[in-house]
């Protein structure tokens, strides 16, 4: 029972959304946009659940003095600090409960929340991302070894495209006569990207769309219900 009603709701809501795509007449066209707006608000509330889980996991580590508990404390402190800053003085042009905090903004140049964003989250996020430069080099070094026909295809195309995307790659083949201009590196790169690569991407997109349509259908008709969990 506790699971039947939610399944019924999913079924009805899903059916309304789908039929309203094809029925341009009211009330269908309106129900759909209403549901879309609701979605935003409901998912907005859910973030609280996650934060509570984060606090729970870390505070239990601190409380039990588990291994590396000091770092969990750092996590809790940063969470609490940024939330307090945000609540008190707001962010950007949004007022917090203490207003805009002009005095403190004058002192540090921007709102405390924004200060933490610019000097904490920004460098952390971009540096984490930049690790990819190193990883892509080590992955290429390790994996691009001449082996089977298929893996050679992967390697050769990668090498052509890596060359074709540099500034001087084009210079390597610029001497080619006009009749062979399709072998000119930037042209060859574009050719690979536009035709064979697009074809494979298309095949992946189209066949995966069937997987998505099928899974969606199974969810709507209530066959796939793992996300709802056990029936207790």
């Amino acid at each position: 029972m506790k699971r039947t009603i939610p399944l019924l709701i999913t079924f009805i809501v899903g059916l309304i959304v789908i039929s309203s795509e094809f029925i341009p007449h009211r009330p269908f066209s309106m129900i759909n946009s209403t549901l879309e707006n609701w979605y935003l608000s409901i998912s907005g509330f859910a973030i609280v659940l996650g934060l509570l889980s984060l606090v729970q996991v870390n505070s239990s580590k601190v409380y039990h003095k588990a291994e590396n508990w000091q770092y969990s404390l750092a996590s809790l402190v940063s969470l609490v600090v940024i939330v307090i800053f945000g609540v008190l003085w707001g962010m950007e042009d949004q007022r917090g409960i203490l207003g805009n905090g002009e005095a403190i903004s004058a002192f540090i140049g921007k709102k405390p929340f924004d200060y933490l964003f610019d000097n904490g989250i920004t460098p952390l996020s971009s540096t984490m991302f930049s690790l990819l430069a190193f990883f892509i080099a080590s992955a290429a070094y390790r994996a691009f070894i001449i082996r089977s026909f298929e893996s050679n295809l992967l390697m050769i195309t990668a090498v052509i495209v890596i060359l074709g995307r540099t500034s001087f790659g084009p210079m390597l083949t610029s001497w080619l006569p006009k009749s062979l201009s399709f072998l000119h590196l930037p042209n060859l790169t574009d050719f690979i990207l536009t035709y064979p690569s697009s074809a494979a991407q298309r095949a992946i997109l189209m066949s995966a769309s069937l997987g998505i349509i099928g899974s969606s259908l199974r969810i709507i008709i209530g066959l796939e219900r793992s996300y709802l969990g056990s029936d207790e």
Binding site: E36, Y39, S43, F134, A137, I146, I162, G169, S198, Q201
Partner: protein, 276 residues
């Protein structure tokens, strides 16, 4: 000489680090050719009439700013040069700040441009495609105010904009999901609005199928190279152009790594055969 794989990794990391740094300190100055998808994007912006309202969606965060921020700056500059008016929105929370930063930087160059008249930042909304669909029906209900909390109806630029359909084109600068794909599905496929995109070089091939006879995508900027090409088209020496040198050096280095890796594997195979 035996090197374990951990040490090998570290050597690769250090060499790459130095190789990318050196050209930044001592620039080399290679030029590049303009690729067709960049040209398409440029032409789309260039052929849009003066006074049109255009939308730039900032669907990225600081982590991809090196690639996408120069695009944002070039695109806004191009739009302003043509007297187009720019709405900024964001499907990523941190995109709002990226938009502000871009406008601030350009205001130094174009001090006459006025907030609310020549540009407006409407901020971030969650929901991705759902939000875009809602914008296609009614922009005001999605963005009751801009980021300065000025009500929608009090912003002069938005007087003529009721829904997405009143916008000449949308360019999504996107680092992932939600981003270009949602704009294609939501804005182009549903409401017929022109959509072009700027994305990281990695995501670009995935979007190429959308540049097709349906014009699902009107143009695509992929990565720093595209950004530097756009700067070249605009005739400015921007941040992207400067950084292309480091790029090229790093590319060669990675090719060298691949070569070494193969030599090593070849030797290993040979020694195994001999061992037998």
């Amino acid at each position: 000489m035996k090197i374990d794989s951990q040490t090998e990794r570290r050597i690769i990391f250090i060499v790459l680090f130095i190789a990318v740094m050196l050209p930044l300190i001592f620039p080399i100055g290679w030029t590049s050719e303009v690729s067709p998808h960049v040209q398409m994007t440029y032409d789309m912006v260039d052929n849009t009439p003066e006074g049109s309202v255009v939308l730039l969606s900032f669907d990225y965060d600081p982590s991809t700013a090196t690639e996408l921020q120069p695009m944002a700056i070039s695109l806004i500059e191009h739009a302003w040069k043509n007297n187009q008016r720019v709405i900024a929105t964001a499907l990523w929370p941190m995109g709002v700040k990226m938009a502000d930063a871009a406008f601030q930087e350009l205001l130094l160059k174009y001090p006459s441009k006025e907030s609310g008249v020549d540009f407006v930042n409407l901020g971030y909304k969650t929901g991705g495609m759902v939000t875009i669909q809602a914008m296609g029906r009614d922009m005001k209900s999605v963005f009751p105010t801009d980021t300065k909390t000025i009500p929608y109806e009090d912003i002069p630029l938005l007087k003529t904009v009721r829904s997405l359909k009143d916008i000449q084109f949308v360019i999504s600068l996107s680092a992932g999901d939600p981003g270009i794909k949602q704009w294609i599905m939501g804005a182009h496929d549903m409401f017929g609005v022109k959509v072009a995109g700027g994305t990281t070089a990695v995501s670009a091939p995935g979007f190429l199928p959308y540049i097709n006879s349906q014009n699902q995508l009107y143009g695509l900027l992929g990565g720093l190279k595209a950004a530097s090409e756009y700067e070249q088209l605009l005739g400015i020496v921007g941040p992207a152009t400067v950084k292309m040198d480091s790029q090229s050096v790093a590319h060669v280095l990675i090719l060298v790594f691949i070569a070494i890796g193969n030599v090593k594997a070849y030797k290993k195979r040979n020694s195994k055969k001999e061992g037998k």
